[in-house]
């Protein structure tokens, strides 16, 4: 089932999606900076690369995604795994909605009821789903270009404020928080799991998608951390909206601050993340359960449920905590990118 998606477009889409998770935090969550943050990012990306290896092995010589391969081997296993994966995607979609809403409502959309936000995002999401994954990944290239331009403007503008004396030779500041932070960052790489489904639709060289994604995301996040550390310094090492705060420091004269523009670009990245999750769900349903119209209807129901859940979690943030604790542990991601591909390999070997 070869698709028409280019590997570079998918890598750009995944990178934009990951950077959204970096710029848009969960409600009332602080992001810690300092020298340890460099190490956390580097280690979490190494960990992601390590757990991606089984997925790469499982998808290497077959067409289609991981679930097509599983379904070839054992329908029952693929059905069970598909159901669990759908739940994981639902949680990721709800979390993305929640992050996007929090970021917007804390910055440029403060006066409007949250239901407006979700209705608008839902409309955009359905439009994106109708236009297809290929359109979404091509859009991602343009959004990534916009983000890159923004990042260059921000970097050039705030560099005079940057004080490299605030950097000091240390890798781990607080041993107690290091591992949970690494796992949290690792768990944010939902994009690797999305690749397990969407990777099947890549036209050629799909083995390059995740290395490209990891390289781009890691470089951008390290640069952002460098800016936070050198501009804000150690005293401001805990921020709720770090990128927004950074762009607040930019005065390009035509506009007083550009922190409305950064929210616009990051919001588009957020919608893009949702627009990747929905086709990933549809792909899972198609591979594990049913093909045709039913999968499309399921995708619409999924999108409505995800945004409905996000709205619920916006009103009652406590409801999301147990699910968040589970996803933050990194276990679901590791299960879908490492354990499941190994199972697929085993089933195939047994069948052979």
């Amino acid at each position: 089932m070869k698709g028409d998606m280019g590997y570079r477009e998918l890598a750009a889409a995944l990178a934009v999606s990951r950077i959204f998770a970096e710029t848009a935090p969960m409600p009332d969550a602080y992001r810690t900076y300092g020298m340890q943050r460099f190490t956390v990012i580097a280690v979490s990306f190494l960990l992601t690369a390590a757990v991606y290896l089984p997925l790469w092995l499982a998808m290497r010589k077959t067409e289609g995604g991981l679930f097509e391969r599983l379904a070839d081997g054992n329908k029952a296993v693929s059905g069970f795994a598909g159901a669990l994966f759908s739940l994981y995607l639902l949680s990721a979609a709800a979390e993305t909605g929640l992050r996007a809403h929090y970021y917007t409502s804390s910055t440029i959309f403060d006066s409007a009821p949250s239901v407006y936000f979700y209705v608008f995002v839902g409309a955009a999401l359905i439009f994106a789903a109708v236009k297809g994954e290929e359109a979404v990944t091509r859009t991602a290239v343009i959004i990534s270009g916009m983000f890159l331009l923004l990042l260059i403007i921000v970097t050039v503008s705030v560099l005079p404020e940057a004080d490299t004396d605030r950097l000091y030779p240390a890798f781990i500041d607080d041993g107690g928080s290091f591992l949970p932070e690494v796992l949290r960052e690792f768990a944010l790489n939902t994009e690797t799991a999305l690749f397990a489904v969407l990777g099947g639709k890549v036209r050629e060289k799909r083995g390059r998608v995740i290395p490209l994604y990891l390289g781009i995301s890691c470089a951008v996040m390290l640069l952002m951390t460098f800016l936070y550390n050198t501009v804000f310094g150690y005293m401001l090492s805990r921020l709720t909206l770090p990128f927004y705060s950074l762009s607040s420091a930019v005065d390009i004269k035509i506009m007083h601050r550009i922190n409305g523009i950064d929210v616009m670009i990051c919001e588009m990245a957020g919608m893009l993340r949702l627009a990747l999750i929905v086709p990933a769900f549809r792909g899972t349903v198609r591979a594990c359960f049913t093909r045709g119209k039913a999968a499309d209807i399921a995708a619409v129901v999924f999108a409505v449920c995800a945004l409905g859940l996000a709205e619920l979690f916006t009103v009652y943030p406590g409801f999301f905590e147990p699910m968040k604790r589970l996803t933050d542990s990194g276990l679901p991601l590791a299960a879908f990118t490492a354990v499941l591909p190994l199972a697929a390999l085993l089933i195939r070997r047994k069948k052979a």
């Binding site: 570079r8 440029i108 959309f109 439009f127 236009k131 859009t139 290239v141 601050r257 588009m268 627009a275």
Partner: protein, 483 residues
């Protein structure tokens, strides 16, 4: 079938033509045989008719049989003409209406159609819409054969081929498909030719009638290009595109067309690359200003004044405080007013159009501000956006509509509304494929080779080493999508 009896044939032809008064029937004798020359008034060149048909026929002195005369006409007399034998009444009529004259011979069941097209045409002039500073001043005209010659004069290579066909059940419009052998994808050529051949229209008066049948149903953008310039069409053909020229239209169509081509002008290639790059950047910027500036202004003024510098904010607030309407209402009224003026100026004769511009732009514009109906900053915003829209003339209609949509989104929902609108616009544009080539390439999917002539314009030394072809712009191999 044509009858042997001349008069019967003429009667049949007149009957099919419903006695149309532009059918000219001239009886004569040649070699002692009764003949009849049929033509359509105004479709042929009468001087050439006299020189190439009447004179040779009248100079036959010897007595001939009908069959011998027919052989003589086809073999000796009409060798200087585009000539074809006709054996059916329908063929005779098609030929006569297409600018041929038909010679029918008494006692012979066939005739000869002689191409003497010579109708009045507009002379080749400078294109109205795609003007340039340097380069040719020639633009396409309405006559197909003149347009074909304008192209052939620029490409004297056998690789360039023209295929003509008739479309339109009633209009029987002649169209020409042009392509360059070795550069055009054969599958694409077949697809386009098939689409044209099976066009369901009875009447084709302009290339715009054909265009919708070559493109996908996208509400805003078209992946079929239209140009008035032969040099532009030639450059497109050279890149592997397919051109379609339609008799009666001074606009030639070409496929595939990419979004970035709206920002490329022929003048870019005669300027220094660095200047071409600068101008192209200006065009992209102007496009963004044209669609987003008023919406952005409405969003900032209504919802996010903190983003505006203090000094400017004070001025804006002072200007807006004097007007009775909200920012959104002002914006919508001014934009609609501008569109009305534009439409009025477009359809009126140019001298009256200038008067409309003066009355609308200066008199009304000045009065609405001094009367306190709209604020000067809002007027300025709409004026800048409108002028920017003229820079990308091919996208003028799209710009008008998008500007209005973004005004509504920005004015009602602020930057968040603009964000959702931009996201949906990007998705919509990126979903388009133009005959297998992504509409947004080489920006997305990104192609470094294609980028040499998109925003950047590489120098001729670099471009002459390997000219990019259209199918290299999709970031990978030829995909053979048939659109």
């Amino acid at each position: 079938m044509l009858e042997k009896e001349l008069e019967k044939n003429v009667v049949n032809i007149r009957a099919v033509m419903r006695g149309s008064s532009d059918l000219t029937v001239k009886y004569a004798k040649a070699g002692g045989v009764d003949i009849c020359v049929l033509s359509c008034d105004g479709q042929i060149d009468v001087t050439r008719l006299a020189e190439l048909v009447y004179r040779p026929l009248s100079e036959i002195r010897e007595e001939l049989s009908a069959e011998r005369l027919a052989a003589m006409i086809s073999g000796e007399l009409l060798i200087a003409c585009d000539e074809k034998p006709v054996t059916e009444v329908g063929e005779v009529i098609d030929a006569v209406l297409g600018g041929f004259c038909a010679i029918l011979i008494d006692g012979c069941g066939k005739g000869y159609a002689v191409g003497l097209q010579g109708f009045e045409t507009r002379s080749v002039t400078q294109p109205e819409n795609h003007r340039n500073i340097r380069g040719s001043r020639e633009g396409f005209v309405e006559a197909l054969h003149i347009n074909m010659s304008l192209i052939r004069r620029r490409v004297k290579s056998p690789a360039l081929s023209f295929r003509t066909m008739q479309i339109g059940g009633v209009s029987k419009t002649e169209i020409c498909v042009c392509a360059m052998e070795g550069r055009t994808d054969k599958k694409l050529l077949r697809t386009v030719t098939d689409k044209l051949r099976h066009l369901p229209l009875e009447l084709i008066l302009e290339s715009g009638f054909v265009q919708p049948f070559l493109e996908k149903r996208h509400p805003l953008f078209s992946e079929v290009g239209a140009t008035e310039r032969p040099d532009t069409l030639v450059s497109k053909l050279y890149e592997g595109r397919i051109g379609v020229i339609i008799d009666g239209s001074p606009f030639a169509l070409y496929v595939p067309k990419l979004f970035s081509e709206n920002f490329i002008m022929l003048d870019d290639y005669v300027e220094k690359p660095v200047f071409a790059f600068f101008i192209r950047l200006i065009r992209y910027l102007a496009f963004l200003i044209a669609i987003l500036l008023p919406g952005f202004y409405a969003a900032l003024a209504n919802f996010h004044p903190e983003l505006i510098p203090d000094a400017l904010l004070r001025n804006l607030a002072a200007a807006e405080a004097l007007t009775p309407y909200s920012v959104l209402t002002e914006c919508v009224i001014l934009d609609l007013f501008y569109e009305i003026m534009r439409e009025a100026g477009l359809r009126l004769p140019s001298n009256v159009g200038h008067a409309v511009s003066i009355v609308g732009g200066i008199v009304i514009g000045d009065i609405v501000v001094s009367a306190g109906l709209v604020g000067a900053p809002m007027l300025l915003t709409i004026a800048i956006a409108s002028i920017s829209g003229y820079i990308v003339s091919d996208l003028h209609n799209q710009i008008s509509l998008l500007r209005f949509i973004f005004i509504m989104l920005g004015g009602l929902f602020g930057l968040f509304g603009l964000t959702v609108g931009m996201f949906m616009l990007l998705i919509s544009v990126c979903s388009l494929d133009s005959y297998g080539v992504p509409f947004t390439s080489p920006l997305s999917p990104f192609s470094l080779k294609g980028m040499r002539d998109t925003v950047l314009r590489a120098g001729w030394h670099a471009m002459s080493r390997s000219e990019p072809e259209i199918y290299e712009m999709n970031g990978s191999e030829v995909r053979g999508d048939e659109g």
